[in-house]
Amino acid sequence: MSAPAVGRPAGAAAVGVLARRNPTVKLGLLFVVSLVLVFILDPVTPAVLYVLALIAVAASTRIAPRALALLHLPFAAFGLGVFLVNALSRPGEVLWSAGPLRITVEGLSVGASLALRTLVIGVLAIGFIASTDGVRLMHSLHQQARLGPRVTYAVLAGYRMLQEMPREWQTIRQAHAVRAPLRPDGTLPRGATALARASFALLVISVRKGERMAQSLESRGLGLSPRTTWRPVRLSAADWLMAAGVLAVLGAVLLVSAMLGHLEGIDALFG
């Protein structure tokens, strides 16, 4: 079993306009847009937002179109499942039926809306992840969002641990392989039990490692104040401009959609 790579390789600098923006502002915007989308349940509004988001992400990051399409796969599949289940299992005006199956107008509309919402949030999350360095985000949260230094550095220590985890996992699997009773055909046990055993070993090792990490962080004086910051993450006028721009576009789309009579709220679920 080869060690899977977790996330972007450390030190690989993200490029593009979006990568230069403040991570906390980006995270906040992603959060606000996702939250607003939860209350929209017509298919047209999220479709428009998806097209706009896709263009914005493609233009402001340097993800190759092919890679961008591949990254869509998991949540596009999820969206398709959501769409089909809603189309088939929502009461309303029947469009088509065969035996126990029936497709309703309401089901199609709500299903399409939910699937498109998944796409909007998905593509924005791709943009965020591709353009944001996790370490820089934590530093930015510490400086701009006033996250405590102890929590910040605990998470960063966890990130370091996460980077080593694929190797750790491989070591455990190999150690188990040395002692494991092989299956009749001479290969390693690979079922859920073997994976569960490896996972438990990983947990034990990591807890022990975590305790050592905490001790060394404390012995280096983490938590003393006042603190100075190395490589501060700046919050510039361009960040505020981006935030204003995104919110203005979101507001404008909602307003136009409402004026054209497309916009539907949460009551579409119960109607």
């Binding site: 289940v85 999350a125 998470v155 985890m165 305790e211």
Partner: protein
């Protein structure tokens, strides 16, 4: 060094969290984030293959997302441990593992954490029997279900109660009882002896050595 400006972190508090406990919560989030990630690789392929059935099948595994909270509470035995652990786990999943669910996961995690924590809080973090764990799984799964139902539009579907039943059952078994099995296993290895759970066990007279 004496601080001149009161920092948020050093503001007077009854008992500040030891760094060791904080790091443990992060470690739980990291390990479970990674293990989920390993399993999800397989799971995504499976759920694509199952098509619409995959949307229903997610409820069978729903409880496993709750595990971090009862584990954290049982080991650290402090108020809010469950909520903090869940939120940290979701941060790691979104920020470092690149989950495309996006930041809505933070809210789901906080709700789950509150649900899982309530039964333990009700016993004032003293009872760690099977019933408390089961209730913890039930409440965690139950609370987050209504939030997810809103997010994914399960309300008004014919399957609503089927979903709820599977979800709750999964919560009790995977998010509650399994947590107790893991906690006992961890305690037996002795790695958590230096945490609150170790002291409790020592007082009860079955330390590891």
């Amino acid at each position: 060094m004496v601080s001149t400006s009161p920092d948020r972190q050093t503001a007077p508090r009854r008992t500040p969290w030891p760094l060791k406990d904080l790091v443990l919560l992060v470690v739980l989030g990291v390990v479970f984030g990674f293990v989920y990630w390993v399993f999800v690789q397989a799971w995504t392929a499976l759920s694509i293959a199952m098509g619409p059935a995959g949307d229903l099948a997610q409820h069978f595994l729903a409880g496993s997302w709750l595990l971090v909270a009862p584990l954290a509470i049982a080991i650290v035995q402090r108020p809010f441990a469950g909520v903090i652990a869940e939120v940290l786990a979701s941060v790691i999943e979104v920020v470092f593992l690149g989950s495309a669910v996006g930041p809505m996961l933070f809210i789901a995690a906080a709700i789950q954490g509150v649900g899982s924590e309530l039964p333990f809080a009700a016993t004032r973090y003293r009872s760690y029997g099977w019933l408390t764990y089961a209730l913890s799984g039930l409440m965690g799964a139950g609370l987050v279900f209504f939030y997810s139902a809103l997010r994914f539009g399960w309300y008004g579907q014919d399957l609503f109660f089927t979903r709820l039943a599977i979800h709750l059952l999964s919560g009790v078994v995977l998010g509650g009882l399994l947590a107790k099995v893991i906690v006992e296993g961890l305690a037996r290895t002795g790695v958590v002896d230096n945490f609150a759970i170790g002291q409790t066990r020592l007082a009860a007279g079955h330390g590891t050595r």
